[in-house]
């Protein structure tokens, strides 16, 4: 039964069949300048992006599915924990695996040898995802692709964070020939990769010119030396930390021109640079004007608020189900790399509270939800048995 005229070729049907290809292919052929495995166009507006090494963080970045080239991410952390350092290590390891040039500021080479070991592509590595996927196959295998259609242009390749893992794997499954965009790493292992010796370490040594000025010059020189089309990653761990940096760095007239110059360097037309900077918030609170200016000069600002250690009991109850790991802290997004005026593509994520979990194998960001009150199981059972009407009662 159809409203279509008979004896007419099903041209519309053919068109419909070619839709998924037609909006995926032009992006790859036109925007992607050369085959670079670590770079893919953003599904939101087509600009090239690269992975942060953490799939759930990629999904958080305003629908780009990665960190756009030329943009910087500022990660602030409260307390004395080093979750931001883990994010940095994933970011560096991803760069090493993708044969990108990694520049580390202010850390010894020892830091580079402690990068997490490679497990494999992010989608293939997670057996839990595979299990979930196979379960879903049983339920609705024939509708599986429909979700990608209905999600529109923005959702077709980069899924929402809530269903990120499954869609990620299926979306990547369509592009079998494409090399992996993001990899999974194991924090307990050490990364061994041929290009790990390619990392650049910029030490903080006093010289006759101001420290930060010399850092920018070294970065400029290192980037100018490298062949064109190299993708660079700049890592600045624990910026302003007094155990690493001299006190005069914290003056606004030093740090702000540094960040401004970094921004200028990253927006050089021919360079392809991303950067990730971490700042300890305990020493430099967000309520200070200096930190606010640093945030204004960054393209994305994320704050990590780990739960205090004594709150383990509370945190453990934060897991929605038994097999989920409890969140270890809250994550706030203060600014996302929303780069054009239509905003980002992640509108279903707006206004959610995020929690993060760092496990051996991944740093996962997921929506935070308070569990039902524990110790109230009697009431729940009672409600289920007595309060709720039975099915038979409902039938009429």
């Amino acid at each position: 039964m159809s409203f279509r005229k008979r004896n007419i070729g099903l041209s519309a049907g053919a068109d419909r069949a070619s839709i998924p290809n037609s909006h995926a292919q032009p992006q790859q052929t036109t925007i992607k300048p050369e085959s670079n495995p670590g770079i893919r166009p953003s599904p939101d507006d087509g600009r090239p992006t690269t992975s942060t090494g953490t799939p759930s963080l990629d999904n958080l970045l305003a629908g780009h599915g990665g960190l756009p080239i030329g943009k910087s991410l500022l990660i602030e952390e409260n307390g004395t924990t080093d979750f931001a350092g883990a994010l940095l290590r994933y970011y560096a390891a991803e760069g090493v695996v993708q044969d990108q040039k990694v520049h580390v500021v202010g850390m010894p080479e020892q830091w580079g040898r402690s990068l997490p070991g490679l497990i494999g592509p992010a989608d293939a590595a997670n057996e839990k995802v595979d299990k979930r996927k196979s379960e879903r196959m049983k339920i609705a295998w024939r509708y599986e692709r429909l979700g990608e259609f209905g999600a529109g242009v923005a959702g077709s390749r980069v899924p929402a964070a809530t269903s990120s893992d499954q869609n990620q794997s299926t979306a990547d499954g369509d592009l079998v020939k494409q090399p992996a965009f993001c990899h999974a790493f194991d924090l307990t292992k050490r990364l061994t990769h041929p290009s790990i010796t390619n990392m650049t370490f910029i030490p903080l040594v006093p010289s006759n010119e101001p420290l930060l000025v010399s850092i920018v010059k070294q970065l400029q020189a290192a980037i100018a030396r490298s062949p064109p089309n190299t993708v660079h990653r700049i890592l600045i761990p624990a910026l302003l930390n007094p155990s690493l940096y001299p006190p005069d760095v914290c003056q606004p007239e030093n740090i702000l021109p540094f960040l401004h110059s970094l921004k200028a360097l990253m927006s050089t037309p021919t360079a392809r640079i991303t950067a990730m900077i971490t700042v300890p918030l305990s020493l430099f609170p967000r309520s200070s004007g200096l930190v606010r200016w640093m945030e204004i000069l960054s393209d994305g600002v994320i704050e990590l608020c780990p739960f205090p250690h004594s709150a383990d009991a509370v945190a453990s109850s934060g897991a929605a189900t038994a097999n989920e790991e409890p969140p270890q802290g809250m994550l706030k997004t203060h600014r996302l790399p929303v780069l054009h005026e239509r905003g980002g593509g992640s509108d279903q994520n707006v206004g959610q509270d995020w929690a993060f979990t760092l496990s051996r194998r991944k740093f996962e960001i997921k929506p935070f939800s308070l569990p039902p009150a524990e110790g109230d199981t009697d009431a729940q059972d009672g409600a289920a048995s007595a309060g709720m009407p039975k099915k038979a009662d409902l039938e009429f």
Binding site: A62, G289, Q352
Partner: protein, 435 residues
Amino acid sequence: MPSQPPLPPLLTPYISSLSPSSLTVLSSVLGATGNWLILRFLHAALSTTPGSHTPGFTEDGDVKKRKVVLGLDLARLTDKRQFAFIDGLSELFSSPTTASAQSALPPRPTTAPRTVLPIRSQPSPLPTRSPQPNPRPDNPSPNAAPGPKEAGPVARLRLTGSGTAALDALEQEIISVIKQLKSSTPADEDEAEVLLIVDQPDLLLAATGPSKGIGATEMGEWLMGLQQSAYATVLTLSADSPLLHNASASAHQPATPLETEHAAFAIGSAYRAQMVMQLRTLETGAARDVSGVLRALSYQPSPASKSGCDVGINLVVLGTTGALGGAGLEAIEETTVDLLEVTGTAGTGGLAALGLLTPVDYIKERTWRLGLSLSSSLAVSEVGAGIWGRRLLSEVRYPGLVPWSRDWLSFEEGLGHMTTAPFNIPGPNFGSYWI
């Protein structure tokens, strides 16, 4: 997506009719940036009367370079000497020799211009509606539409020295570009009117500090010098709470020089401005359909108000599909505006501007405005109660303040921060209702 007008009709009166020798201050916060509004100003100035010379002119403390802006080809306009861009990003603090090592551009290409405008230099930050005519070339080749080569390269600002001398050098450079624009007018026309858009000059203030002899006073004088050579000036500033309120006496911690100078500069500029447009996020957290609030406050007969009242406060709620900081076109289409007349404050325009910036007056004003918003929304609530209820509630700073009816409770469930708020039915004079 249906095509939308580049200028939302509700905003048009405010951004397209700038009075002579006026200063417009546009304040933004971290989560609600003013990029989109700057582009609207550019569009309004450059597209109103095609052919006439209304040059726009941008000094960027932050990067905002686009080849095609809302359907305007900026490179072509640069060729026609209607637009000039001054780069305040590339070499403001870093030395030109190393910075240009990669791009192989002369540091100050005043002679032998090689490129028209490296506006496409960014990794294609272009609106999806406007297709880029040519893909981003790796070498800075001349534009596809070759204009007269004397169209001028991009002037790049560079801060050298300290104190007012450094600022004077910047000012001279900017004024020379303005003069170039003015002199390019054909002889049969009057001298062109130059709209000057200064984007985040407060970075200069923050990044230099008192140790280099640049303070709020010097910046204010610098700005005034620039204003003299332009027809109208648009200025963007950061108005984040730490930058403004830490300097006040009620702050918990002693203010740093950065904060005091920034607050002095921002508040002083707001005093002098003819119009203050304030962008901020919703104070109840991010919402899916509303990305922020824009308030325009002008001290001249507002073009939108027919009554000719001196002060008009406009509350524009922007809805958007985007996340933090994105203000959408489609959003402005469904904008709701409350135009509220303030009687009796005609003589205190400056104080009202200050009210935008200081915390105490701000809350007072909100409370007052809320009552009026509610009364004006009563008629609407019958028609589109869902959207109105939600929007207004997201506007309410204190959720227990003025709920109108029980219905509102259900509307605001999407806003996670407000679900547990108690709801009181206020008394009849809720205009003066306080939390």
